[in-house]
Assembly symmetry: C2
Homo-oligomer: 335 residues x 2
């Protein structure tokens, strides 16, 4: 639905619609009512139209991410910035950290800077409790909010996600089918996406009667880039008597630590220890053998998020949620 449709349905010229949205006094009350009734009926806010007409816009998009030093988030920001620039939009980024209070204050900051939309990068912005997600719905009452790899049902919120559940389910299945049954899941985030991944692993293990409960799911709480600490965690796990011949990691960094652990313990990869990572990042090429990893099509996701956003800003009807599939990229750490 565009400005043209409004004009047609209200039976007035495009210039008249524009004058109404502009708040011009050169329009009769009767005509104004006609236009606003159509807008009301189709549940579009005049703001969205004004933006579509290039009125009241700074051509600036706000981006929020929890932590720009996370490889995956940094890459996403890079793609989004590039694609916005190509389309004539500037962007301003707030790194919020993981604390809800800071997320809310960054959101308010961006809105005060009159951005045309806010993009939330990564799944750290969705909280367990619905009440804690109110700040997103509140922001969406003012500008469209786009979620990259997270989902929230609310008016004016649009989501583009990778099907992390299925990707992890299928990767686990492949490892089981290669003959490995003692598989530990190694993760460090319980975000929206983190939970989907864990559920995919668990479903595949349970279906084959291989799930061993708590000891199968190892949660590492330290810094997301401290590889020596992660390696140490796995060494201790082995010392505690947990048996594992495969490790499926929620992130390439964790997977790299597993490869390092295998080397130190003189375990042959993939024969004695198989490893699968997630994100298919540059880290996959850093170890020897190179890492099998799940590519969750980040660039495609970002590309689609921007097209959706441009559609919304242009006043078109756009899908509220789009889901893409990931792909397992096989390299040397799996059989």
């Amino acid at each position: 639905m565009t400005i043209y449709d409004i004009s047609e349905k209200a039976g007035v010229s495009i210039a008249t619609v524009s004058r109404v949205l502009n708040g011009s006094s050169n329009v009769s009350e009767k005509t104004k009512k006609k236009v606003l009734d159509v807008i009301d009926k189709y549940e579009y806010t005049p703001n969205a139209f004004a933006r579509g007409l290039g009125l009241n816009t700074m051509k600036t998009i706000g981006i929020m991410c929890a932590d720009s030093s996370d490889l995956y988030l940094a890459k996403a920001i890079y793609y989004i910035e590039q694609k916005l620039r190509t389309n004539g939009y500037d962007s301003i980024l707030c790194c919020t950290g993981y604390n809800l209070k800071n997320k809310i204050s960054s959101m308010n900051l961006l809105i005060s800077k009159k951005v045309d939309s806010i993009i939330l990068v990564g799944s750290h912005f969705i909280c367990e409790s619905e009440a804690d997600n109110k700040y997103i719905a509140d922001a969406a009452a003012q500008v469209p909010v786009m979620l990259l790899n997270a989902a929230l049902e609310a008016p004016n919120v649009y989501c583009v996600v990778s099907d992390d559940y299925t990707s992890m389910y299928e990767a686990t299945l492949q490892m089981i089918q290669s003959g490995i049954t003692d598989i530990v899941y190694f993760y460090n985030s319980a975000s929206y996406s983190g939970k989907k991944k864990l559920a995919g692993y668990r479903a595949a293990m349970e279906e084959h009667g291989l799930f061993k409960g708590e000891e199968s799911m190892q949660f590492y709480q330290g810094s997301h880039e401290d590889i020596p600490a992660m390696t140490n965690y796995l060494r201790q796990l082995c010392q505690k008597g947990v048996v594992f011949r495969g490790i499926i990691a929620a992130d390439d960094t964790l997977a790299l630590a597993a490869v390092k652990y295998a080397r130190e313990s003189r375990l042959q990869i993939p024969k004695e220890l198989a490893v699968i990572g997630y994100n298919n990042s540059m880290l996959a090429h850093c170890c020897d053998p190179e890492l099998t990893s799940i590519d969750n099509k980040l660039e495609t996701l970002c590309q689609h998020l921007i097209s959706t956003l441009l559609g919304v800003l242009g006043g078109s009807e756009m899908p509220k949620k789009t889901v893409f599939s990931g792909e397992l990229i096989k390299r040397g750490t799996t059989l």
Copy 2:
């Protein structure tokens, strides 16, 4: 120098100074002149004071970086954001890419958003030609500009840098002293900091009569994270007949590619090929053996940059340039 000093030197109360800076009409012309004379004498602009008093400030700092997907820059942004938040400042980031036109437009965007200062992260913002650096001086005429690991002499511009020249000089010296004489320098950036590093390597080689000209300095032009392409570059270098027993890389990613090349070519590290990286990033722990790398004290630099900025915004006299030393962290890739 603070608001208290002005009050003392002008012989009026702090509240009066505040009223003058506020433009309040409740001050006699005579008193107003006294205050402004002191400010004039000490060459402070009322703006800087107003900011120190919390007037006219959004408590928001603009950050610019060329590419947030670069590990080093991403880490710097992370530290800077954290330290600003701790001090009650919000921050907004623009990723500009490497093109001058986009750098200028991002700078203008930030100034239009009424930021209190602009921080330029990394040395990609300083151009060869002085005319191309005018946009930085222009911005500094409006708000203080802080440079992280770059230098420019201009009013209201403050620089915090790591002594990349000396770090690289000493690392090269250490490799020479360990008995290796065929050392290739492997780099991918000719930025301000990139040139300093190259010069440090070259000086150490020349002093020992080991510099072989062009073939010693290998410039890789591809993607900054495409490790397989970097490895391939080194393979071709060897095929061309260039002899090297040591590689000093301007970045850990390039060094990692050197380690990978050695593995593929079945060269023993460090006996047959020694490698030194730069930045002491998480990548240093990714390879086997772990990477010897130069720590350029990024967190210290960021910490100091923020204290300098807070001093400037508070109206204190702060150093225009501060230089920190780096440190070689020895691990398994050197003798």
